[in-house]
Amino acid sequence: MIRLQGVEKTYRTRRGDLVPAVEGITLDIAENEFVTLVGPSGCGKSTLLKLVAGLTLVSGGTVRVRDTVVREPFPDVGIVFQHPVLLPWRTVLDNVLFSADMLGLGPEGYRQRALELLTLSGLAGFETRLPRELSGGMQQRVAICRALLPDPSLLLMDEPFGALDAMTREELGFELLRIWEARRKTILFVTHSIPEAILLADKVVVMTPGPGRIARVITIDLPRPRTVELEFDAKFKAYSDEVRGLIFASRRARGDGR
């Protein structure tokens, strides 16, 4: 579904220097695959997500989604950021309907689906609340519902649980898996939590910084549905050692490892 070929992105700094953010990225993502991008800060994970969304354009190489070269944003995409960025004056329900509204789809026809999504994510009864009356985890659930509302076939998530506490984070991860099992779509999920990356994914893309490159793509062969117990599985441990090894090897090579 997504095909990145030799993708390169350079930014111009204030002083006018060109700084490469990502370089030589080649990656294939199949339809309905759950792919996580993991790596330390500054390895270009978020840049890659923006390139796929068409929010920023490549400096070299090509990004294809369903054989179409991405040159601008396209509507078949849902995006979730680290912060929920809800509209404070809209109720929970109207915040979910925001995506249909902005897509020009006529929010009325989406009401029923919005209510279903809210129920699915445990927010039934909160429809008329304002965002500030919700906890961080609940706000992020609303943001996920907003992204899912137009039923996009591609979901891009940029550290969606990064600002949450560890317990809420785990809970939301399993919830996302449950929603995804019920209605499959392609998910590209950026995180810097190694356990999270392994627990959720079909495929983990390990990235290293300076400039951002793919160190290795690891196929996760663990049974679904995933459970908390998997974290004690020997295979899980092996995957997590492998990812950690790749990340720290690159740190040592750059001389800032400890």
């Binding site: 969304a53 995006i79 960025v85 404070p88 925001f98 902005m102 020009g104």
Partner: protein, 257 residues
Amino acid sequence: MAASLQNLSRYVVPAATVAGAVIVWELASRVLRIPKFIMPAPSEIATEAWEWRYRFIGHSWVTLYETLGGFALSIVVGVPLATLIVYSPSMRRALYPLIVLLQAVPKIAVAPVLLLVIGYGEIPKMIVAFLVAFFPIVVDTATGLAATPPELLELSRSYRASAFKTFVKVRFPMALPFVFSGLKVAITLAVIGAVVGEFIGSDKGLGYVILSATSYWKTELAFASMILLSLIAIMLFGAVCLVERLVCPWLAPAAEE
């Protein structure tokens, strides 16, 4: 019980402070026999205000609508100007120096020139009020529009919403708290602007009353007008706060559960 005590102290303490100050003032002017034209006693101010009650209505009305006219003009000009500045870098480069220059010119110095050019009447006072009031509106609105979280802009772009739709549905409402903080500063400045305009040349309005009262040594009348003017400014400020509450109910402190 504790809550009602707290409420009591919230209103009673400031009211008692003001009342105490007035009493001390009254006693001081009686005991020390301060001449009326230097420092009139509160009772003398009140008497004068009562005598002037009907004339005050007309003068207050003039100052009020000069203020509101200037304030309205500063919104109508200020908000679109801020939008232009935020959306177009070239407009920003072209307009910003002009706006800052306009703000830097002392308005009291501009007022006589304006009156000379435009003549007497309410319009030049409205323009002076506008000149002092529009700057905070432009600056705060521009700050608010520029403060939209980048994620929301990216989200709107990914939904391919037009710039206009993004402005109406996201950026402008998101900037409203900033706009209102500009409006609150502007409304009090607009009152000052209108009075400055009246000082330079007019035959009505509270600024005119103050000026003519002082030239006849009627300090108690000047004081009465000043107090009235302050009350008008407070009322207008309160009205802006009220409108803010109505327009942005989501900013109100959350109810206790």
